[in-house]
Symmetry: C2
Subunit: 329 residues, 2 copies
């Protein structure tokens, strides 16, 4: 009888919003999981329920410094992802994206681990084509207030593509569009958490600009499913894709193509919280704020057989429930 050992996964940013969901999913899938997090924006409460699991370990570590260990799969999710957090320390944000990526790529190279990198729709910047396919090169300011995040993430993609070409590292990248759900940071300043918090507190809901800019909203479980499917693809499939696609790199959009205006979102939140006394209020648009962004997910459908399943109404209900029960009001 053969003793089958569980596969080992490293999740950077494992105590963050998305990382905590991914850890939970990997444990459910039978993995031994190490979550690494600097706790700059992550929080141990997001993984409190996992700490007693013998297949789970948490390590407080900043991936701008090297990390060692033997893993089968590395999921690189570490980076402050909301402007309110990353603009607090732009240089550290850049270091997390770039040095963190280098450290994880070196680890993957030295230990022959697969690596999934969490890239972002922010690499498209304020897009001039709509919706965005993976072959769109983006429209990003190099020297603006958001640049530390956008350019850091662009650079991380370049590193992934080059470590794959130059050193044969088995990388896969997902470009994550707006994603929401339980464990979002209540002060991350992003639209869904803002609106829910404002509605729960009976404060006015702030719309920037005219509120007619659109966003797509992906529920976290849909994203985690896409990540897992991408990581499960055989390497040959990924290599074959890169060889025949003009992209030349294993990168896939994951997002929900359903498009809503910020105003529609606000109205849906208020609809689900009928007791709220909040009203809509308007404020000026921050500089470099993208006007419109929506994923083309054709490639994810083809390559991963994936599409989002959770409707905005349903995902919002679960998220509102989280914010309410977490007693954050």
């Amino acid at each position: 009888m053969e003793l089958k050992l569980p596969k080992k996964a490293l999740v950077t940013g494992g105590a963050g919003f998305l990382g905590s969901h991914l850890c939970r999913r990997l444990l459910a899938d039978g993995y031994e999981v190490t979550a690494v997090d600097s706790l700059f924006t992550g929080a141990k409460k997001n993984i409190a329920d996992l700490l007693g699991n013998v297949r789970f370990s948490f390590v407080q570590h900043d991936i701008t410094l090297p990390y060692r260990g033997q893993f089968d799969e590395i999921y690189n999710l570490a980076c402050p992802a909301s402007p309110v957090h990353y603009q607090r320390n732009p240089v550290e944000t850049m270091k997390t994206s770039v040095l963190g990526m280098m450290n994880m790529l070196e680890l993957a190279m030295n230990t022959k681990a697969k690596l999934l990198h969490a890239s972002t729709s922010e690499i498209y910047g304020d897009p001039l084509v709509h919706p965005q396919t993976e072959s769109y090169w983006g429209n990003v300011n190099t020297v603006g207030m958001r640049s530390c995040y956008d350019e850091g993430k662009r650079c991380a993609e370049t590193l992934c593509a080059d470590y794959r070409r130059e050193y044969g590292v088995d990388v896969r990248m997902v470009r994550i569009f707006n994603t929401y759900g339980p464990n979002m940071h209540p002060q991350d300043g992003r639209v869904i958490s803002n609106f829910i918090m404002q509605a729960l507190r009976d404060e006015d809901i702030t719309l920037y600009g005219d509120g007619l800019q659109t966003r797509s909203f992906q529920y976290c479980d849909d994203l985690i499913e896409a990540m897992r499917r991408f990581m499960e693809l055989p390497r040959e499939t990924v290599d074959e894709f890169c060889a025949k696609s003009s992209l030349g790199a294993p990168v896939v959009n994951t997002g929900n193509p359903g498009e809503y205006t910020i105003r529609e979102l606000a109205e849906e939140v208020l609809c689900q919280l009928p007791d709220s006394k909040s009203k809509l209020a308007f404020a000026p648009l921050p500089s470099d704020d993208p006007k419109r962004r929506r994923p083309d997910i054709t490639l994810a459908k083809e390559l991963l057989g994936w599409e989002p399943k959770v409707a905005l109404r349903e995902g919002l209900a679960r998220t509102i429930e989280y914010f309410r029960s977490a007693g954050k009001i």
Copy 2:
């Protein structure tokens, strides 16, 4: 009587094409100059005539590792700049741009030195607007063969802008468009050195694509003049510019707006080398090769009172003379 000590300048990439000209100029301007170079693409022969100067020092060092010293001015020119060099080791290219930039910014911050960073028109990628002003955000592939250079240089700009905003480092950036002149690397694979070398060797002159893509060609002395003028601006002038410009960062195009097709360039080279037996030959366009690029230098004129002085014909003559006398054929 006051003893006036010379100002101290550090030039990274000081043994490279542009760095060697800058060292020579700074010595002529009375500076004490330290040239740092890894000699990956730089060469000591470019600065051979300076080695006996008591105000000049050469240090072989790779700026992906920190460098210490007390300088009044830092000129960050280190980075392989031609595709044939930077694609030989894409990951190292990225590290030179990003880690090198971080190390120089840290040095500038810790020693209160002014820093001039040599950025590039490559940050505009394959531009969708023409000519390019500094406010154009560019069109760059994150995962292509040229990305290590383009994205590394974009990231370096972001770091400069953020170190300035966050830590008050006195940075200035020039975006350098195609520049040529003596000390160019004969095997750098770029169009001017290629054409001259081919013509001197009586080999066919290779045009990629139809040869109708345009380029602007700046003579090296013009660029060095722009760099020196930018560095001589009082900090208050730079800060005032950043405060009132929508750019929000001290970044200026330097290039020659004169636009020539690659084919016209080839014909001018042949015209200056009437004894050459070379003919024009055509080859396929490499992937991601920008089709067209020309600087808008309005800002450099306004802020630096600068414009290029050396005509293509004259600059080419000096460059051909260099390649001929350097005995590289």
